[in-house]
Amino acid sequence: MTKPAEPLTTAVRLARALVLLTVLLLLVAALALYAGGSRIDFASLRSDPLARTLFFRLRLPRVIMAALIGSSLAVAGAALQALFRNPLAEPATLGVSGGGAVGAGIAIALGWGASVSGVPLVFLCGFAGAMIAVLLVHRIARSGALLLPGALLLAGVVVNLIASAAVLAIQYVTDSSRALQILRWIIGSLETIGFDTVWRMLLILAPCWIALLALSRDLHLLAMGEETAGALGVNVERAETIVHLLCSVLVGVTVAVGGAIGFVGLIVPHAVRLMFGEDLRIVLPGSLVFGAAFLIAADLVARTALSPVELPVGAVTALIGGPFFLWLLHRRQRYSAL
């Protein structure tokens, strides 16, 4: 009998991936904390109150914010690719980000501050918009047990177009100061002061991460086909509903806070695949860690590339992600579903 070419078991490959990516994350985070408009000398943090304020009120929260949003978008991208069995799926290409943007835009137009039992209204509206978009796109692309890959992406593009038109309309009818708020938010920034928003996000995002990771075996089987997964004991309908919900929360909340940051959910899972293989039980946790490192790095570039001018981080990810998307499209022989 032929011995398999890859002698490593899945558990060893997962452990190796997590160790390598965590080391990478720590290195990138340290660099991002150090570099910026003004360099922070870690030794002066004890003595210099100004440096301390800069570090703890601005730099550290921002890096953590980038990590939270990067992780969420990347793990949602990996899950959506498996769910839709489409390597080009990600929150932006499926229109999920667009839907979230409309929801969050409405909330901003109505007033930032409101919250429903402690959860900011803008989070809730972002989630609702994202959920409607993902269900709409799924419904349109579905034909019996088949998901039509072309229809899926086209539906996503059109949902995005409708969403940006809706956001423009909201901007037009709202008063000028809120219109400006919406504009700044669409451009997207990870800027944050203190840890309030960070904690609030973490409380909502972390349970979603854990729940998605707990579903990684179901997603691994779903990536092989819906009927196959069903025949292997997966409760397909339930798993799909839960993944829809979790991804909508992740994308809705991140869009509500950070604006439109595209392609993180595309680049990160594929990079993890190229490094550690296709097994979703490795790709999902790997994307969670690498997504954080990726967006911290992208934000570092956004802050420093044209310093003192700051680029929107969404522009940086789109400039890297757009060409990457085209490259994936070009390699369609390997991804035969396209």
Partner: protein
């Protein structure tokens, strides 16, 4: 004797569509190789999906070994019944071994990975269908026929008591079609495997199959041994084609349409 798989007055229609299965009652005997034949759209694939528990009948009942299918958990069912869907391409370049290993997931706890035994079982299943050499290849690089063999190997890795195959021979060449049927017959004889095969390939059936179910328009039209069903008159009725001709030669049935 209770049939191993049984449909009792089963009815099914896809959402807001006309009924696809209309009051079908039939029993699949344990340890037998059965074929389901019939014209396009007659409900063959839907019938095996009902047996696989992927669809639930709108009326009537599906039973496995005398127990209603809906009372068996999906995971439990996946250890007993394996289903091979019609050939389709995979979206991601999984390795063949990764694909076949998923057949072990009904036996693996949610937060555990497959162990060495599972790996051995997966490689055995690949060897059984004559595809051991494919283990390290990527499924996206395989031909349609090779992918089909990998799907069958995955189903065998489930160690099922019953195997349901939906047009498994569609993408296979002459040699591999014969090999697949021989493999199924050998597993029946050695392990008592029950298999139900949906097929348009009527030449596949004789002489190794035990039983044939013929469907037309969602209803069971005829059943019996291959010699009883594969006749001019029955096939003419099943396919609504008066030009069907059959001839038995050396224990096989030749079938053509004039």
């Amino acid at each position: 004797m209770t049939p191993f798989l049984e449909a009792r007055a089963a009815e099914f229609s896809y959402r807001a569509g006309p009924p696809v299965i209309r009051g079908v009652s039939l029993g699949v005997a344990r340890g037998k190789l059965s074929a389901v034949i019939g014209p396009n759209g007659c409900g063959k694939s839907t019938l095996v999906r009902l047996f696989a528990g992927l669809l639930a009948p709108a009326r009537g009942e599906i039973l496995f070994d005398g127990v209603p299918l809906r009372s068996i958990s999906r995971r439990e069912l996946a250890r007993r019944i394996a289903y091979v869907p019609q050939a389709h391409a995979l979206a991601f370049p999984f390795t063949v071994l990764e694909v076949v290993l998923t057949g072990r997931s009904p036996y693996t706890p949610r937060f555990r990975f497959e162990d060495e035994r599972d790996r051995g079982r997966a490689l055995d299943a690949l060897a059984t269908v004559g595809a051991a050499h494919l283990a390290p290849r990527r499924v996206t690089e395989l031909s349609g026929g090779e992918r089909q063999m990998v799907s069958v190997a995955r189903a065998l890795a489930q160690d099922p008591q019953c195997l349901l195959l939906d047009e498994p021979s569609a993408a296979l060449d002459l040699k591999h079609r014969a090999a697949l049927v021989r493999t199924l017959a050998a597993l029946r004889d050695s392990q008592g495997l029950t298999a139900v095969v949906v097929t348009h390939d009527l030449h596949l059936i004789d002489p190794l199959f035990d039983h044939v179910f013929a469907l037309r328009a969602g209803a069971l039209l005829a059943q019996g041994s291959p010699a009883e069903v594969l006749t001019d008159s029955v096939l003419a009725e099943v396919y609504e084609d008066p030009h069907v001709r059959t001839r038995r030669i050396d224990g096989r049935t030749l079938i053509w349409s004039n």
